[in-house]
Amino acid sequence: MNMMLKKQFYENTATESKLPDADGIRQTVGEPFLENSRISCREIDVFYGQKAAINKVSLDIGSNEVIAMIGPSGCGKSTFLRCLNRMNDTIDSCRVTGSILLDGEDINRTDVDVVLLRARVGMVFQKPNPFPKSIWENVAYGPKIHGLAPKKNDLDEIVETSLRRAGLWDEVKDRLDELGIGLSGGQQQRLCIARTIAVSPEVILMDEPCSALDPIATAKIEDLISGLREKFTIIIVTHSMQQASRISQRTAYFHLGNLVEVSTTRQLFTNPRHQLTEDYITGRFG
């Protein structure tokens, strides 16, 4: 299978023109498949009602890797991300087909425990959405419901380390009782990151986690991501190509619901194999 796709890729790129033919974007070019994958998605289709949001996306994600998703607005990055912890279940009109294996198990099966899945696959949402509770409670909520800390002391410790890793501790350590929604937009974003990592998920889905952050906070989050990579798998959506190239090993380019290209980050940004990718990263898109 791997070989076959590689062959196709060469066939695609063999024509120097790089112009997408009618079906050119239906096939993903690059290396979407891995030998040892943590998550492997095959032919995922997502429909909102009758409207298709994602077409036949197949992609492997390895353990200990950071994979970045880029692409123009509305191309289905968030939708794809939300498939991986079945957040799309919460939208009534949304239908997902295809298979997504996490450690060899299909997460789309009906008998899969969604609660457990979401504890293992954490998510940071595109818009900061802290609970209207205190900062402490925001971070402690996940560990509390999963029973990760039997004693309050342990919880305090989890809260502190999570906030430290999200680079928020120094700003909020004196006002943990204050409302999470009383923070600035960027602080809220970091609070949400802290809340997610407090559960120690094995896979973290990040939907533009740095969109509201200044360069310093962004650098902290990027450090955090690089640190987390040692143990976890991270899938991050970003609109900043610099960020993608700084933190990710592989990058996937989405276009109108299609996964156009997946390559190592260096390759994708320096030597894109698909015309659409090249247009996008050189700013010629649109």
Partner: protein, 424 residues
């Protein structure tokens, strides 16, 4: 090119500028309209309150008459005090006031100045203290409602009206002797209904209302909120949920008397619950308030931003945890508001209660959910229907009590809401 751009910019400013005064005028108009609307409603509210206060406040005072009562040992045999003729005792005390009165007619019109309730009062005092027997005591006793009305200026002091020449003379005499006074009308707050206006009170209806509303709250709050949560959070949207929604909205608009009929058919005829009982009244009002509570609770739940749910779900909270940890606390203030609106409506409801017999003349103060009772609005209706002038006064007084009750209820709701809102 630049010339043109400049020109355009200029004209945009001009246009905005020329439209500005119109926009401000519209704003001013709207503000004036708002002030007018509020002013008008305040005006009517003040008129309503002033009228009710004017009519009802005098009912909180009651005329009393001072009699020198000789507790005649002959009339009060110690062995059967319980059945002694206290009416005779009262009558003799009246006669003692004006020893010259002769003839059955005259005597009768003299007795009419004192309320029948005065005899009960004498009985109570004697039973409490046997030593009174054989002594003469100056006692302030409750006057008849007609005398009360006369003293309050509601009945004209001329012999053509309710009082004859003789009675008017006596009244004048009593006033001169300082034997008439007005005091706080405690009876009004401590007794149930009565045929005699001066002996009737609001407590029966008030406790009936409290018992009925307790039942209503106990059933409609949990059921309503549970239903709303299920409908909003768990039921799949589709034809069935639309069907339910339409029906609930319809129920909210069904005339309340139909709920009364339903209650009569189900609770009394089928389940055999007692008639006129607060239990049945509360259940009927529960049926009536449920749609209101469900609709407002659903609105409150809908107003909780979906991002909160997503955040909790994304952390691995189960749907029930999402509801109880996040949605419910946020929606609770709105739910409370809806509940209070429903309860306030239930408080003022008369029609459905007529159907289940809560309109009866009930003297006893209801003590349990099963005893016969009536409620404030029904009491108001009953009194408003009575011909006595003193009942007119008491009608307004009962309205005041109802309003105070309402204000207390709403204030507690506001307090609760604040409390729950502050938890965040």
């Amino acid at each position: 090119m630049t010339e043109k751009k400049k020109y355009n910019l200029h004209s945009v400013t001009d246009r905005v500028h020329s439209g500005l005064s119109r926009r401000y005028r519209a704003e001013k108009c709207f503000r004036r309209f708002g002030v007018c609307a509020i002013g008008l409603s305040l005006f009517f509210l003040v008129i309503l309150f002033a009228d009710i206060m004017h009519k009802g406040l005098p009912a909180f005072l009651q005329t009393q008459i001072k009699l020198a009562v000789f507790f005649d040992p002959e009339l009060l045999p110690l062995e059967n005090l319980e059945t002694a003729d206290f009416n005779a005792l009262l009558k003799s005390s009246c006669r003692a006031l004006f020893p010259g009165v002769k003839g059955r007619r005259s005597k009768k019109s003299l007795y009419k100045l004192v309320s029948d309730g005065a005899a009960y009062e004498l009985r109570k005092q004697v039973l409490r203290n046997h030593k009174l027997i054989g002594t003469t005591q100056d006692l302030w006793l409750i006057a008849d409602d007609e005398l009360d009305m006369l003293m309050k200026g509601n009945i004209a002091r001329n012999p053509t009206g309710r009082f004859n020449q003789q009675q008017l003379y006596w009244i004048e005499k009593l006033e001169q002797d300082g034997r008439l006074r007005r005091r706080f009308n405690l009876t009004f707050f401590t007794s149930g209904d009565s045929r005699d206006p001066e002996l009737s009170g609001i407590l029966g209806a008030l406790s009936g209302t409290v018992l009925t509303l307790l039942i209503t709250l106990m059933f409609s709050f949990p059921i309503g909120i549970g239903a709303a949560i299920y409908l909003e959070e768990f039921l799949k949207k589709g034809r069935f949920s639309d069907f339910l929604e339409v029906n609930i909205n319809n129920l909210a608009a069904v005339p309340s008397i139909i709920f009364g009929l339903l209650g009569l058919g189900i609770f009394i005829n089928f389940f055999g619950l007692p008639r006129s009982a607060p239990l049945v009244g509360g259940l009927v009002l529960t049926l009536m308030t449920l749609p209101t509570i469900i609709i407002s609770s659903r609105a409150a739940i809908k107003a909780v931003p979906p991002s909160i749910r997503e955040a909790a779900l994304g952390l691995g909270a189960s749907p029930v945890q999402v509801v109880f940890h996040h949605v419910l606390p946020l929606a609770l203030p709105g739910m409370l508001t809806g509940t209070i609106i429903g309860m306030a409506r239930a408080l003022g409801e008369t029609a459905p209660l007529l159907m289940i017999g809560m309109v009866a003349f009930i003297v006893d103060i209801p003590k349990s959910f099963n005893s016969a009772a009536t409620v404030l609005p029904v009491q108001i209706y009953l009194w408003a229907d009575s011909p006595e002038r003193a009942f007119t006064e008491r009608t307004s007084a009962a309205i005041i009590v109802l309003l105070v009750f309402l204000v207390l209820m709403n204030a507690s709701a506001v307090y609760l809401r604040r409390k729950f809102e502050r938890r965040w």
